[in-house]
């Protein structure tokens, strides 16, 4: 289990390195998919199966589909992968900087075991994170209402930004 969790953590950092090293947006979206999948593994290993499921369904299922569509909108004829020299230099630089940060914290590591939620799991019917998320509907309801209004405001912002089919250079989009 420890090796699986370490693999997920290393994959998370490697996914963000592949995003941050400035490849073309196709490859950057692929790196973000890898990072989100590894993050799901990390959360599931810590006992937060509901949060992991939410991350998988909402993040991978909803937002990355939109990002893939937008990458197709902003397509370019010669995409730069990680084999490109300019990108590969950046990958090496980020890997070295993460390694230096790892080396700087070398004396301060503790707690290699994974502390799970659900200390009192024999008394409870549902998992801890599921019950915590359900609090959003009772005592956290004002924050829920605020986020609903924010989402509605975002709808009007998006409609206003993409308004005007008769203006602009590209009419088909």
């Amino acid at each position: 289990m420890t090796y699986m969790m370490l693999l997920c953590l290393v994959g998370l950092v490697a996914g963000l390195i592949s995003v941050a090293s400035n490849p073309s947006p196709f490859f950057a979206a692929l790196g973000l998919v890898v990072a989100a999948g590894m993050g799901c593994g990390v959360l599931a290993g810590h006992g937060g199966s509901f949060l992991s499921l939410v991350l998988f369904l909402i993040y991978l299922g909803g937002m990355l589909v939109v990002f893939a569509y937008s990458a197709a909108l902003a397509a370019e004829p010669y995409p730069e992968g990680w084999g490109n020299r300019y990108v590969a230099v950046l990958v090496v630089a980020y890997v070295v900087s993460v390694g230096v940060a790892f080396w700087m914290f070398r004396g301060e590591w503790y707690e290699f075991s994974w502390v799970p939620v659900n200390e009192l799991s024999e008394f409870s019917v549902i998992w801890g994170d599921t019950g915590g998320v359900a609090l959003m509907y009772s005592s956290g309801s004002s924050m829920l209402v605020i986020s609903v209004w924010v989402l509605l405001l975002t709808l009007f912002v998006v409609l206003e930004l993409t308004r005007g089919l008769s203006r602009g250079a590209l009419r088909a989009v």
């Binding site: 370490l6 953590l9 290393v10 998370l12 950092v13 996914g15 963000l16 390195i17 995003v19 941050a20 090293s21 400035n22 950057a28 990072a35 993050g39 990390v42 959360l43 810590h46 937060g48 949060l51 939410v54 993040y59 937002m63 939109v66 990002f67 937008s70 990458a71 909108l73 902003a74 950046l90 980020y94 993460v98 940060a101 914290f105 301060e108 590591w109 994974w114 502390v115 939620v117 659900n118 200390e119 801890g128 994170d129 019950g131 915590g132 998320v133 609090l135 959003m136 924050m143 986020s147 924010v150 989402l151 975002t154 912002v157 998006v158 930004l161 203006r167 250079a169 590209l170 989009v173």
Partner: protein
């Protein structure tokens, strides 16, 4: 510092440095922002899970809602720039000011 703390801290810093340096496309900057939001989601979830404070685990859900707002506004800006400039390169946004 546990390895999980190191992992999400370094992913946040990597996303931030990737956003700050070397951007050619607007979409790359948005993807870096998404990576930062992913690391923040994992950080808040690990806070709730490791400290066994289950009532805090509603916070990453609200963060995910706000990050969806941010992503949709950014992609609307991307569509608007692709419509007016034909591309999403930041250089052409600098060159062809509207």
């Amino acid at each position: 510092m546990t390895p999980a703390h190191f992992a999400f801290s370094s992913t946040f810093m990597l996303g931030l440095s990737g956003l700050a340096f070397y951007r050619t496309h607007l979409l790359s900057a948005l993807i870096c922002l998404e990576g930062m939001m992913l690391s923040l989601f994992i950080a808040l979830s690990l806070w709730a899970l490791q400290l066994d404070s289950t009532s805090f685990s509603a916070a990453p859900m609200l963060l995910l809602a706000f990050s969806a707002c941010e992503a949709s506004a950014g992609l609307a800006l991307l569509v608007a720039t692709a419509r007016t400039h034909g591309t999403d390169r930041l250089q052409s946004l600098n060159l062809l000011q509207c």
